[in-house]
Amino acid sequence: MAVLGSLGLALPLLAGCQPPRPGLSLVVATKSRIDSLDPAQASRIGVMQVLSGLGDPLYAIDASGRIEPRLATALPVLSLDGLRARIPLRRGVLFHDGTRFDAEAMAFSLRRFMAIGTLGYQLSERVEAVRTTGPYELELVLKRPFSPLPRLLSAIFLTPVSPTAYREYRDKPLNERFVGTGPYALAFFSGQQQRLVPFHRYWGRRPANGGIDLVTLSNSTALFGALRSGEVDLLLSSGLEIDHQEALHRDAGAGRLREAVGPSQEIGLVSLLSDQPPLDRLPLRQAVALSLDRGTISQRVALGLRAPLRQLIPPSLPGSDPSAWPTYDPAGARALYRREGYCSGRVLTLPLTYRSDIPTDRLFALTWQAQLRRDLGDCVALELTGMESTTAYAQLDKGTLTMLFYDWIADYPDAENFLMPLLACSQAEADRCLKGNSVLGGTFWTAPGLQQQLERSSQLAGPDRIALLEAIQRRVGAASPYLPVWLSAPVAWGRLPVSRPRFDGSGRVLLGELHRLPTTAGGSPP
C-alpha cells in the first residue's frame, strides 16, 4: 500500500516537469499515422496534410474554389485538339536541398509518380507523356481532352521532388525524407511525429509560425483529451468520433476554442445492388430513395455535424445539384412499395451491410432501421450486418452486398472524381454494367449513353460542363443506384492562443497561416 501511496504522490510531482515548448512552433494532432512521406506512396488524408506543408502543387484551389497558379505561373495553354497542355513554370524556386526547380525537375517528379505512385493511375489514365519544352515550360500530352486538368494538378501528391535527392529512388519510395519546394522543410520524421521547420529560402510567403510538430494519437479519446488538456494546439477532425466533435463544437460555440470548417471532399452513401432482385426493380430503388430521412438521421447520428446530402458532387464544387435525389417522402415510398406488392401483409426485407469498424456507420444503420420501422414498418425492414471495411470492399464487386453504407473521398477536388469512380462503365448490357467502376462500387448499374455523358463532362468546361454534370446527377438520382446520405466536412479546432485555422479548397488546413496570438494585458489572447 505504501508503494501505491508513493506512486500516487509522485504523479503530481512529475506533472510539474512539463517539457519546454518553443514559443513560436505549434503542435497539430491527427489520427493518421504516416508510414511514408513519399508523394508516390501518398493515398490517405493525413499524409496529404503533411505534404501540403512540405510541398507545393502546380496549382492550388483557394477556399472560394478558385484555381490559382503556385509552381505554375498561369493556367495550362491547350492545343487546338485539346491533347497537349503547356504549363509555364515559376522561376527562382529552390528545393529544400538547395537545387533549382525547373521543368526537368517537374517532369522527373511526374514521370516517377506515374511509374511508382500508388495513385499513379490518376495521372497515367489521362496523360500519355510528360515533356519539357523549355527550361521553365512543361508539356503534358493527354490521352483525351481533359478539362479538369488544373484541378488534377492541384493534387498535392503531384508535388515535385528534388531529382538530386531522389536520384537513387526513381523506381522505389523514399519514405522517411522529403525534399520538395514547400514553405516547410522536414526536420524529423517518425510514423507518429513529423517536425516541419520554415524553409528560409522559400519563394513565397514565409510561414507565420516557427514550425509545426504534427503528432499522431491513435484514438479519438486521446485526441480529444490532448486538445482539452492543452497538450496540442490544433486538432484535425479526421478520426475523431462524433461525440467528441460535438463536445468540441460546443466548446467553440462557448468561445473556449476556435473552430473552422473546410470544404468537404467526403460523402457518405449507400450502394444498391441494381442488377439482382429485389433492387433490380426501379420502383423499389426509388421507394428506398424516398424512405431515407436524411435530416433525422444526420441529427440523431451525426448530431447535426454532417449535412444531409442529395447529390453525389459536394456543394463546394462546380456542377453540384442540391436536389438531384428526392427528399424524404414516406407516403410516396409507401405507394411505390404497394405497387410492387408490399405493405399489405408483405414486408420487403432488405439486407444492409455497414462497416463494423466505423462507429458512425453502425449508428447510421441502426437509426435508419428504426426510422423505417417507425414510418414504413408494414412495407420494408432492414436486416443489418456488420462487416470490417476491407472485407466489405472486397465483397462489393462480387455482387453479394444488396446494400452497403460506406464513404467516398475524392483524391482531388473536382466533380469528375465523384462521378467517374462511382459510375463509369466500360462494358454494359442495357442497364447492367459488366465491367467498370460501377461494378467496383457495388451497384452494377449503368444507363444507355451514360458513359458517353461522363466522358464528355470531363472534356467540356464552363457552364456547358456544369449543365451536363447536373443532368448526369439528376439521371442517376432518378435511377437511384446510390443513395447519397451526408457530407463529412473537415473541421479543425484550435486553442485560443492560436489564430483561427483556415482551410484551402482541397480541405487541408493552411499550416503556414497558423500563429500564436499576442496575449492581452489580462494574459488572454484577444
Binding site: P19, S25, Q41, Y121, R195, L217, G230, A394, N437
Partner: protein, 339 residues
C-alpha cells in the same frame, strides 16, 4: 544420468523444437491471412481504383503469383532472416520491427517491474495476519485488478490523469516539442546515456500512464500467486521445523517460506513476460504507444501480409526464448525439478 546432463538434454530438445514451432506458426499465419476476407489492394487503393491499376499494384507486390509460390518465397526468405517488405510502404519488415520492438519492451519491462513490486508487496502485506483486514484488502486487490477489462481501465486512467487532471500526457511516447533521443530505441536508457534530463523526464511522463495501467492490471496475478504460495509454504513441514528450532517468525518467513513461495511466482513471471510482448495491444492502442502490438493492429487492418507475418514470427520467437529461459532459471534454482 546427472541432473546437469538432464537439463542440457531438456534444453536441447526445447531449442530443437523451436524452429518446428516457428515454422508451424509462420505457416498458420500465412494461410490464415490469405483465407481471411479482405484484400491488401483495397486497403491501399480503396475500393474503386481502376482494374488496371489494381492489377498493376497486385503484380508489383507479388500478390498475383500462385499461393504455393508466395509461400515458398516467404519460407526461403524467412530461413535467410528476411521477413520481406511491408506492402504499405515498401519498408523492410525487420526495420519496422526493430523500430517498434524497443517501445514494446520498454513498456512491457517497466510494467512487469511495477507489477512485480506492487503485486508482491500487496501479496506479502497480509501475511502477518491471514484473513485479517489487510489480507482481505490484498485479496480483493488481486481479484479486482485481474478482472478489470484493460481497455476500460486504460481509458478511465487516461481520462482522469491526462484529460481531467492534466497531470500527464494522454498518449504517445515522447513530447511532440522535443526530438526523441538517438541510440538503442529505449528512450529511458538513451536519455540517461545522453544525461539529458529534459528527455528523461519527457520519456518518463509518457511512460507512467501506460506502464502504470498495465503494471497495476498485471500486479493482481503476482499478489494472488504470492499469497497462495506463501500460505502453503508457511503451513509446510520445513517451516514448522524451522519454527520448532526457535527461529524468529521474521526469519522463518523471509529465509524459509518466501524463497520457496517465490519459485512458482517466477514461472508466472515467465508466462506474463511472454503474454506481455504481444498482449499489450489494448494498452498500446489506447495510449498511442508506438510498439509492436500497435503496429500489428494497423498491419492487420491494412492486410499488410508480410508485416503481420513478420511480427507474429518475431513475437513467437521471443515467447519461445523467454519460456526456455524461465524454465532454465527455475531448474537452476529448484533442485527438486526433474526432466
Amino acid at each position: 544420468m546427472s541432473r546437469r546432463s538432464d537439463l542440457a538434454r531438456y534444453l536441447a530438445s526445447r531449442l530443437a523444437l523451436a524452429p518446428l514451432m516457428l515454422w508451424l506458426i509462420a505457416t498458420l499465419v500465412f494461410l490464415l491471412l490469405r483465407v481471411a476476407p479482405g484484400d491488401p489492394i483495397d486497403a491501399l487503393l480503396g475500393p474503386r481504383a481502376p482494374a488496371a491499376a489494381r492489377a498493376a499494384l497486385r503484380a508489383q507486390l507479388g500478390l498475383d503469383r500462385p499461393l504455393g509460390e508466395q509461400y515458398g518465397t516467404f519460407l526461403s526468405h524467412l530461413l535467410q532472416g528476411d521477413l520481406g517488405t511491408s506492402l504499405a510502404n515498401g519498408e523492410p519488415v525487420t526495420r519496422i520491427i526493430q523500430a517498434s520492438l524497443p517501445a514494446s519492451l520498454e513498456l512491457g519491462l517497466t510494467a512487469l517491474l511495477l507489477a512485480a513490486v506492487v503485486g508482491l508487496a500487496v501479496g506479502f502485506s497480509g501475511i502477518a495476519r491471514p484473513e485479517g483486514r489487510i489480507d482481505l484488502a490484498g485479496r480483493l486487490y488481486g481479484i479486482g485488478t485481474y478482472a478489470l477489462p484493460p481497455f476500460w481501465a486504460a481509458m478511465v486512467v487516461q481520462l482522469v490523469f491526462a484529460v481531467w487532471l492534466g497531470w500527464l500526457p494522454v498518449g504517445g511516447r515522447f513530447p511532440a516539442t522535443l526530438l526523441p533521443p538517438e541510440g538503442t530505441g529505449f528512450y529511458l536508457l538513451d536519455s540517461l546515456r545522453a544525461s539529458d534530463w529534459t528527455q528523461l523526464s519527457g520519456s518518463l511522463r509518457h511512460l507512467i500512464l501506460p506502464a502504470g495501467t498495465l503494471g497495476l492490471l498485471l500486479s493482481g496475478i503476482f499478489t494472488n500467486a504470492l499469497r497462495l504460495n506463501l500460505r502453503r509454504a508457511l503451513g509446510s513441514d520445513y517451516v514448522e521445523a524451522a519454527r520448532s528450532r526457535g527461529l524468529s517468525e521474521r526469519r522463518v518467513v523471509l529465509h524459509h517460506a518466501l524463497p520457496n513461495a517465490l519459485l512458482p511466482v517466477l514461472t508466472i513471471t515467465g508466462i506474463t513476460v511472454a503474454s506481455l510482448i504481444g498482449g499489450a495491444l489494448l494498452i498500446e492502442v489506447t495510449y498511442s504507444w508506438p510498439g509492436i502490438a500497435y503496429r500489428l493492429q494497423e498491419a492487420i487492418a491494412q492486410r499488410d501480409y508480410p508485416l503481420v507475418q513478420g511480427i507474429v514470427v518475431v513475437v513467437a520467437a521471443l515467447v519461445v526464448l523467454v519460456t526456455v529461459l524461465v524454465d532454465l532459471v527455475v531448474a537452476l534454482l529448484d533442485p527438486r525439478i526433474r526432466f
